[in-house]
């Protein structure tokens, strides 16, 4: 047994001592890794074919730009200026001259090639460790040309995973509420876009108020609140087919919906006679279960990733606080005890943390705490912000922020923002209109 252990260690040590680059994502990265993203090389005939189909002059450079932007926005990488690149893309992909890349201080290099093969788009790419002079990864895949943006996201996911040791979050989408109009009469539509803000699409027309869309973690289904016919109810929407249906048959307002981690149930609040309780409905057999039973407001439920627990907020102590219970509603325990009011708990996909909104002394915070309420950490403070949603790898939170209006009530806006779990890398997420209530999808591909 002892011998076995020792051999294991001996094997492990040399692997480490190769010293291939690694990116630590557990702390705020103040020194993003310098990386060169060489444009994907492309032969002239393929270039012309893609120009015809996709109306993009050079699809190789376009895909590389997506990778470059993703890496930059992640905050972990510093993509270097292409003007300084000394090697042509096609030659770099065959055999990079590491001295040249070293000269411009690149520590990692991405090269690749894109071609038109039997009406499909074929990509191969490589990740190189410039200092060690070694190939770290080589992958190839084929898809329909229209998927070209996703190709950029998948390459980023693979590079991110190879360098950080964790799954990426780039080949994902965000569903959110697009907003327009004066603050007193906002027009709200469901909208969906790629994680980087591209391919924005409106899913409703704005005839009725819609709120709080959330993805099914296992598919591309969405649950949300709609005021269709002035009856606020939880709906289920299939994004691919556009079909919608009311969830359950409740004699009153249902709201605050979310899916269970297996995607088979919807958990939500039902308000009746001034009391909001948490219910679940099984989407297969339509069985409805009442989970909480308390005269206070119980809402914003969110399952733990193993489905065994539910976090929610309740004002049973007098003010809104976060509670955790078993998924059958037993063992209710308050977990937030800091100063202020706590709401919108959302369980991390990694299971170890709960993200929340906190209101204290007139300021709103997005923060995280362990699932027993310990280790509270506030990530960002603002006039108004709420409703965090986790990236599928549990490293980034997306939320929305509203501005304070001036003395005349003007200057209102609502925007999507993201921040790393470390508290660094706070960024506005681009949307064509104002936006709120974002929800991050799981990875579209793996």
């Amino acid at each position: 047994m002892k011998n076995f252990l020792i051999t294991l260690i001996i094997i492990l040590i040399p692997v480490k001592s190769f010293g291939l680059i690694e990116v630590d994502i557990t702390r705020g990265n103040l020194n993003p890794l310098p990386i060169a993203v060489s444009p994907l090389s492309i032969d002239e005939e393929s270039r012309k074919n893609f120009e015809n189909i996709l109306k993009k002059k050079n699809i190789g450079s376009e895909i590389s730009s997506i990778v470059e932007n993703n890496l930059k926005v992640s905050g972990l990488f510093n993509p270097l200026n292409k003007d300084a690149f000394l090697q042509e893309p096609d030659i770099a992909n065959l055999k990079p001259r590491f001295e040249d890349w070293n000269l411009i201080k690149a520590q990692a290099l991405i090269t690749g090639n894109v071609s038109y093969v039997e009406e499909k788009l074929r990509v191969e790419f490589r990740l190189w460790d410039v200092l060690a002079g070694k190939e770290m990864m080589a992958l190839a895949f084929t898809t329909v040309p229209n998927n070209w943006r996703r190709v950029g996201h998948i390459i980023t996911d693979k590079v991110y995973e190879r360098l950080t040791g964790e799954k990426g979050y780039f080949d994902t989408r965000i569903i959110y509420v697009a907003e327009e109009g004066p603050k007193t009469q906002r027009v709200k539509k469901l909208a969906i876009m790629d994680q980087d803000g591209a391919n924005n699409k409106f899913l409703t027309l704005g005839n009725e108020l819609v709120l709080t869309p959330r993805f099914n973690p296992t598919s591309q289904m969405v649950t949300y609140l709609s005021y269709f016919r002035n009856l606020p109810r939880v709906y289920l929407l299939d994004i691919e087919t556009g079909t919608q249906e009311v969830v359950g048959d409740f004699p009153g307002m249902t709201f605050a919906p979310r899916f269970s981690p297996d995607g088979k149930k919807i958990i939500m609040s039902f308000a009746k006679d001034g009391n909001s309780e948490i219910y679940t409905m099984d989407l297969e057999n339509r069985i409805v279960e009442k989970i909480t039973n308390h005269p206070s407001i119980d809402t914003s439920p969110s399952y733990s990733p193993d489905g065994k627990f539910i976090s929610f907020n309740s004002d049973r102590s007098g003010y809104q606080q976060i509670y955790v219970m078993k998924s059958d509603g037993s063992n209710v325990k308050r977990i937030s005890f800091g100063k202020g009011i706590y709401g919108t708990p959302v369980w991390s996909p990694r299971g170890d943390l709960i993200a929340f909104t906190k209101l204290h002394k007139g300021k709103f915070y997005i923060g995280v705490m362990r699932t027993d309420g310990s280790g509270e950490r506030l990530l960002t403070e603002n006039f108004y912000q709420e409703a965090p949603s986790w990236s599928p790898n549990g490293r980034v939170l997306i939320f929305y922020r509203e501005t304070k209006t001036d003395s005349k009530g003007k200057g209102f806006s609502a925007k999507l923002w993201s921040i790393d779990l470390t508290g660094y890398n706070e960024r506005q997420v681009p949307t064509p209109t104002d936006g709120s209530d974002p929800s991050w999808s799981s990875l579209l591909s793996n």
């Binding site: 108020l209 709201f255 001034g274 509203e402």
Partner: protein
């Protein structure tokens, strides 16, 4: 270093002054707020002469104030006189809370009004309740007075 310390203190003093003067004005009560409940008439509409359409609430509260109860008694009298009229009670919250909690709070406020109307003889069949949470403010301001106008339950004729 010293200068920045002085500046910092100076800044703190200015902030403190602002906070005090804000307190002073709100305590004076310009006839617009009592505590943090709106008592003005800026946004109020009338269901009939002398029958205001809305009642206001304190932050996070759904308790009816004395003034609110008086308004609702007037509404009940008007509803008894006009027995064919049905109403929707629209419950609202201010923007200083999370969206989902505010939906529940709006529902609770509208139901507080509903319960009171029922104790004055209005059948629940004539009343429906609709919460808008913080989605439909009447005042787009980001200040305590605007928020007090937005914490409301509005009685709307449904037919």
């Amino acid at each position: 270093m010293k200068l920045s310390k002085i500046l910092k203190n100076g800044f703190l003093i200015v902030v403190a002054c602002l906070a005090l003067s804000a307190c002073a004005t709100s305590k004076k009560s310009t006839g617009q707020m009592q505590g943090d409940v709106y008592t003005g008439t800026d946004t109020v509409e009338y269901l009939a002469s002398g029958v205001p359409d809305r009642v206001f609430f304190a932050t996070n509260e759904s308790v009816l104030t004395t003034a609110s109860r008086e308004t609702l008694r007037k509404q009940a009298a008007w509803l008894r006189k006009n027995s064919k009229i049905t109403i929707v009670l629209e419950g609202h919250a201010d923007e200083r809370g999370t969206r989902e909690y505010n939906l529940a709070l709006g529902e609770r406020r509208a139901n507080a009004a509903k319960d009171y109307l029922m104790t004055y003889g209005i059948s629940s069949d004539r009343i429906s309740v609709l919460s808008y949470g913080k989605e439909r403010p009447v005042d787009s301001g980001s200040n305590p007075l605007a928020w007090s106008k937005n914490r409301r339950s509005v009685t709307v004729k449904a037919n």
